[in-house]
């Protein structure tokens, strides 16, 4: 039993997020960066670019290429992960690239590449949403022109209840997981994946909850960016 008297095993209510901490501009070398803690997840994201795409034959004369790379440190999971990309991280890199490219004004930077590095240092369920959220802050920190700052959050179903932001145990034992990324101003959906079992009605409910979660996280993103600029002012 994962939910008892409406309270989840980590003490949260069904529509409650895990604790989140976001810091922008934490790296010296990167053009933009973000460190994010979300529950037991620790994520470092960096952005390089726009810079000339090399080798030249991959250049697109009409726009920048957006190339996100999601990667898990070998010590970030219970059983040591072998270094290098596996099939799961290849898929996540792909859907993350697509979600982030949605909001970037890529046509401003033809023949270039915008490289986004997402390193999962400590993992505890929901790393793809945490990674997109961190990468979006790093993009803003790098000054990449975007029509909105993307944000991601998952909803799911556990013990028959639609809940927000699953833990590892809820993800493993629960009935469904629905990671969603949106452009918060317009509520456009940039990423949506799902596995498990949801009726159409449950899906509607879960989607609504995920979007609500995204909007809460979006506030923390903006606060983190604001904090960085404040730091500058103080100096």
């Amino acid at each position: 039993m994962l939910i008892k008297d409406g309270i989840r095993i980590d003490g949260r209510k069904p529509d409650e997020l895990r604790p989140i901490k976001i810091e922008a501009g934490v790296l010296y070398r990167a053009d933009g960066s973000c460190y994010l803690e979300w529950g037991g997840n620790k994520i470092m994201a960096a952005v390089y670019g726009p810079r000339e795409a090399l080798p030249r034959h991959i250049q697109d004369p009409t726009k920048a290429l957006v190339n996100a790379r999601y990667s898990m440190a070998s010590f970030s999971v219970e059983e040591r992960k072998r270094p290098g990309p596996d099939r799961r991280s290849t898929e996540i890199s792909k859907v993350t690239s697509e979600a982030l490219e949605s909001v970037i004004f890529t046509e401003l930077f033809p023949r270039t590449t915008i490289d986004i590095c997402i390193e999962v240092l400590d993992a505890e369920a929901g790393t793809r949403c945490a990674g997109i959220t961190a990468a979006a802050v790093a993009l803003a920190d790098a000054g990449i022109p975007m029509r909105d700052i993307p944000v991601a959050c998952a909803a799911g179903k556990v013990d028959g209840v639609v809940v927000l932001d699953l833990t590892s145990e809820e993800d493993k034992e629960g009935e469904a997981d629905l990671p969603v990324a949106i452009a918060p101003r317009t509520e456009e959906i940039l990423l949506l994946q799902m596995d498990g079992h949801l009726t159409y009605k449950e899906f509607e409910e879960a989607l609504e909850l995920a979007i609500k979660g995204c909007k809460q996280v979006a506030k923390l993103q903006r606060q983190a960016l604001l904090n960085k600029y404040k730091t500058f002012e103080v100096k």
Binding site: A53, I58, D60, T62, L65, V66, N67, R87, R88, T90, E91, S93, K94, V95, S97, E98, A99, E101, S102, T113, L178, A183, E187, E188, I189, L190, L191, L192, Q193, M194, D195, G196, H197, L198, T199, Y200, F203, E204, L207, I211
Partner: protein, 270 residues
């Protein structure tokens, strides 16, 4: 890093398709909610434990199933396992290149895999030979032969059909007589793309080349959702996605009939 497919479409063709889209017309004359003809042939590869060739229009894929005896995962010692791979060989398209699986092939295999896994189509608890020691591993290999769009649905359908006629090769391993692989009710996958604010089911290649966003949903026999995947760099509104799922529920019912499902038969199988 891949150059987006869209680059390869000429500006003229793109304009032409965009003009058509504004009139809600598709390049091959179909309506937005019309699949191309679907054809399923089963049991065509003798060396495979199960196989099916699926054609959707000019798109043709071959699914082959092999079973091997292997070790169970430590956290499910009494359950069989499954692994799904997709090959996009240079045979099937001038754009495909030899080499290890591209991100496209990996996404395709993983989305098909999730549909099958989450709908509990294969009862893994019936694939245990010796608890903790030996279980059946089901290998689903998807081989694209001709690529004219909508590989997600073609591969999903081929995998489902191939699993329906799969044999457990007990004899090869000295485990008694061969018998049919037990299967439940298959998932049915429906894929849509959006271009110029026109959302169509079963995209052909030309449509995929200019599509801004893609959506795949796998439904079970009750019309419940078992897996979803949004793709490409465009976006959908909430209402568009809700609408897509409702349209998919109608298509899935029809496609399910091609698998001999949807008429009470599925109860006999499980």
């Amino acid at each position: 890093m891949e150059i987006p497919e869209v680059k390869r479409v000429s500006a003229i063709k793109k304009d032409y398709l965009a003009r058509l889209a504004k009139e809600k017309k598709r390049p091959d004359g179909r309506s937005a909610d019309e699949y191309r003809p679907i054809k399923i042939e089963r049991n065509i590869i003798k060396k495979a434990e199960g196989s099916a060739r699926v054609k959707i229009g000019n798109t043709m894929v071959l699914a082959g199933i092999k079973l091997e005896v292997g070790e169970p995962y430590p956290d499910s010692p009494e359950e069989g396992a499954m692994t799904t791979s997709a090959e996009l060989p240079p045979l099937a398209s001038p754009e495909f290149e030899p080499g290890p699986p591209t991100p496209d092939a990996i996404e395709l295999a993983r989305v098909v895999d999730r549909g099958i896994r989450e709908s509990k189509y294969i009862p893994f608890d019936k694939l245990c030979i010796e608890p903790g020691e030996k279980v059946w591993i089901v290998f689903i290999d998807l081989h694209v032969l001709d690529y004219d769009g909508n590989l997600f649905d073609a591969c999903s359908l081929a995998a489902s059909a191939a699993l329906q006629n799969t044999i457990i090769p007990n004899e090869r391993y000295g485990l008694g007589e061969n018998k049919p692989l037990p299967v439940g009710s298959p998932p049915v996958s429906c894929t849509f793309v959006k271009y110029e604010n026109f959302i169509v089911v079963d995209p052909c290649l030309e449509e995929e080349q200019i599509a801004q966003a893609r959506f795949t949903v796998a439904l079970d026999k009750n019309g419940d959702i078992r897996a979803m995947q949004k793709g490409l760099r465009g976006s959908f509104t909430i209402d568009e996605i809700k609408n897509i799922i409702k349209r998919a529920q109608i298509h899935a019912k029809k496609i399910r009939k091609l698998l001999g499902e949807g008429n009470g038969k599925e109860n006999q199988k499980s």
